[in-house]
């Protein structure tokens, strides 16, 4: 049984296609993050799961039951919003039990749930306060509490941390993670913040232009991006994509960058298909953190490039190098002394390389 299943879902607003044939499945207890740039359709998808938005095509199943035409309140879900959406005229207690009262829950049960949840979230001292008297973090907690008291099958989070300041965001992120570890309820979480996605999700679905680009574990998303969009979107700074061609002679495959003569050997790379690799136009992808200042592994490739720019950011520095007129970024510890406008020896970790077809931009 899948806790949530989305089948061939399409949605358009007027002539704009927001979601195109989305298919998605979540197993019980998973934490799925919908990640993507603004306007990619992730929030619309979440609203559709909640039943707040109608569907043009396709179906949504919760516990294998088709809920496409079921009202939001009857879907066994609870949602936490970006602006918290606490009812301004009600105090914390009234906010938290509003849904239970609508569902005609018995008074004893409401009291029991309220006590349990407010203790659990440490808002039991705030029950009489109005939302306007709470700090951002407290509001966030109450909003989560309002979702918790309903004991839903699925939690939906719509960018719940983006209204908080940086420090609080990191704190609340950890609390949400803890919450999920303790409750083990299925979660669908929308964000545009990759750090949030990576640290929270057991699965990440990266979306762009209404299409899921990759739905995978955080490790695979980071190490084996499906296409150049995912490669570029994840990581900060994002993966270097060097344009060039593959060269195949007998059994040895190598990469040659545009305008360069240097052949980078590609071995131990899992090609999806082994045919027609010779002269194929590709992007050679390597993350800035996989370029080193000194040789760490035996297989590291030594390469000499000119340093153009250095950005110091405390715990590390981001250096820009010139690779035959293509920019390459590398991340070093800030303790390393570097000199600009000088040829520098670098070491590429070739076990961490990704290759993409230059035309389709898909991983090969």
């Amino acid at each position: 049984m899948k806790t949530l299943k989305i089948e061939d879902l399409s949605k358009n607003f007027g002539s704009t296609e927001v979601l195109k044939k989305i298919n998605l499945e979540i197993d019980e207890g998973n934490f799925l993050v919908l990640l993507g740039p603004s306007g990619c359709g992730k929030s619309t998808l979440l609203n559709i799961i909640a039943g707040l938005e109608t569907i043009n095509e396709g179906n949504v199943f919760i516990d294998d039951y088709n809920v496409s035409k079921v009202e939001p309140k009857d879907r066994n879900i609870a949602m936490v919003f970006q602006s918290y959406a606490l009812y301004p005229s009600m105090n914390v207690k009234e906010n938290m039990i509003f849904g239970l009262k609508q569902a005609k829950t018995s008074k004893d049960k409401i009291k029991e749930q309220l006590e349990k949840v407010s203790k659990f979230l440490q808002v039991d001292q705030l029950l009489e306060r109005k939302p306007s008297q709470l700090s951002g973090g407290q509001r966030q907690r109450v909003a989560i509490g309002r979702a918790l008291v309903r004991e839903p099958r699925i939690f939906l989070f719509d960018e719940p941390l983006s209204n908080l300041d940086a420090k609080l965001r990191v704190e609340m992120r950890r609390e949400i993670k803890k919450l999920h570890q303790q409750l083990k309820t299925t979660v669908v979480y929308v964000t545009h913040d990759q750090t949030e996605a990576m640290s929270l999700g057991t699965k990440i679905a990266i979306m762009n232009h209404g299409v899921i680009q990759q739905n995978d574990t955080p490790e695979n998303i980071y190490n084996k991006p499906n296409n150049t969009f995912v490669a570029d979107f994840i990581g900060s700074p994002s993966m270097n994509l060097i344009k060039g061609k593959l060269k195949q002679s007998s059994n040895i495959i190598s990469f040659v960058a545009e305008g360069s003569n240097l052949e980078i050997p590609i071995d131990n790379y899992n090609f999806k298909a082994n045919d027609n690799l010779n002269n194929k136009e590709v992007f050679f992808g390597i993350r800035p953190e996989h370029i080193f200042f000194k040789k760490l592994n035996d297989n590291d490739l030594e390469i000499t490039l000119r340093a153009d720019l250095s950005e110091y950011i405390g715990h590390e520095q981001i250096m820009t190098f010139d690779y035959d007129n293509q920019e390459i970024l590398a991340k070093f510890p800030s303790t390393i002394k570097t000199e600009l406008s000088k040829e520098t020896k670098l070491y590429f970790d070739l076990t961490q390389v990704s290759l993409f077809d230059a035309k389709t931009e898909e991983r090969i």
């Binding site: 609203n47 707040l52 939001p72 609870a78 919003f81 609508q102």
Partner: protein, 300 residues
């Protein structure tokens, strides 16, 4: 170098000091001028209403009354006590109250509902509905007199307070809808979404969630509608006459139908009485008026 730089700064400082002093005095002068310009008619009205006719004939507009004489106020409110031709404000004052209270209530309520639907329950073509409603704000009163008279006739409520309530409610809806729509646009729609997930329906969301936070805009709408309807003369004089007339029409009749001598003191007292309710409403709720007009955002 250092010295010349310092002295040039000193000169600049002196100059800006004199300019500031001058501007400040100029500002006060203009303010006082305008304030007296606006207060002058009110002063004349109050002073005249307290004088006897004798004093009015002998003194000037600005002379202070010899004693506080409220006789003309009593005449304006309750009449002189003889039968025919004695027009006084009391019955018409209650006509106006009977007209203004339901008309303000219904137009505000319907406007709130309409604003709620137009912002939180969007439907196809809602922009057009709003546009046509806005259009209603710009139709001159005179243009709807004839069709409205016909409508009231067909409904059988011409020359009645109920008829005026209907006219003012209908004519008020474009304005009240505009106010509430603009207010509810700034209320996060996520509130409605959250309430829907919590199981609240259309009316519950309106009464339990939106209406309790609408106090500022309700005050604005009530003041606006109250002032408009209370001060209306055109609709009142067109759609009612005789005993059903509202206070502004009666005031006009009173002032114009004076038989022999013009009793300025009674006229002034009547005019003040007719204006007092709007003043009271504004004094009681005025600070919310400014606040409601300027702020719209609901935080939290």
């Amino acid at each position: 170098m250092q010295d010349s730089l310092q002295s040039s700064y000193r000169q600049l400082e002196q100059k800006s000091k004199y300019t500031n002093i001058f501007l400040r005095w100029f500002l006060y002068l203009v303010l006082i001028l305008f304030a007296s310009y606006f207060i002058f008619p009110l002063y004349v009205m109050i002073v005249t209403s307290l004088k006897t006719m004798e004093e009015i004939r002998q003194g000037t507009l600005l002379t202070w009354p010899s004693s506080l004489n409220f006789d003309s106020w009593a005449v304006a409110w309750g009449g002189r006590g003889y039968g025919a031709g004695d027009t006084f404000l009391k019955p018409y004052f209650w006509n106006s109250i009977k007209m203004v209270v339901p008309a303000v209530f219904f137009s505000t309520f319907i406007g709130a509902m309409a604003g709620y639907v137009l912002t939180k329950w969007r439907f196809k073509g809602d922009k057009w509905v709003f546009l046509f409603l806005l259009f209603g704000c710009f139709i001159p009163y005179q243009a709807i007199l004839l069709p409205m008279a016909r409508t009231l006739g067909v409904l059988g409520i011409s020359n009645s307070v109920i008829g005026l309530v209907l006219v003012h409610t209908v004519y008020g809806i474009p304005f009240t809808t505009l106010f509430f729509r603009n207010f509810y646009v700034s209320v996060p729609t996520e509130l409605v979404k959250a309430a829907r997930i919590d199981g609240a329906g259309f009316f519950k969301i309106f009464f339990k969630i939106l209406l309790p936070i609408s106090a500022p805009i309700i005050v604005v709408t009530v003041i606006w509608q109250f002032t408009q309807i209370w001060n209306d003369f055109l609709f009142g004089s067109t759609f009612s006459f005789g005993e059903a007339a509202p206070i502004q029409v009666a005031l006009n009749n009173m002032v114009l139908s004076s038989t022999s001598v013009k009793e300025y003191n009674v006229d002034m007292a009547s005019a003040i009485i007719a204006g007092i309710p709007t003043l009271i409403v504004y004094v009681l709720a005025g600070k919310y008026f400014i606040r409601g007009l300027t702020s719209g955002a609901v935080k939290g």
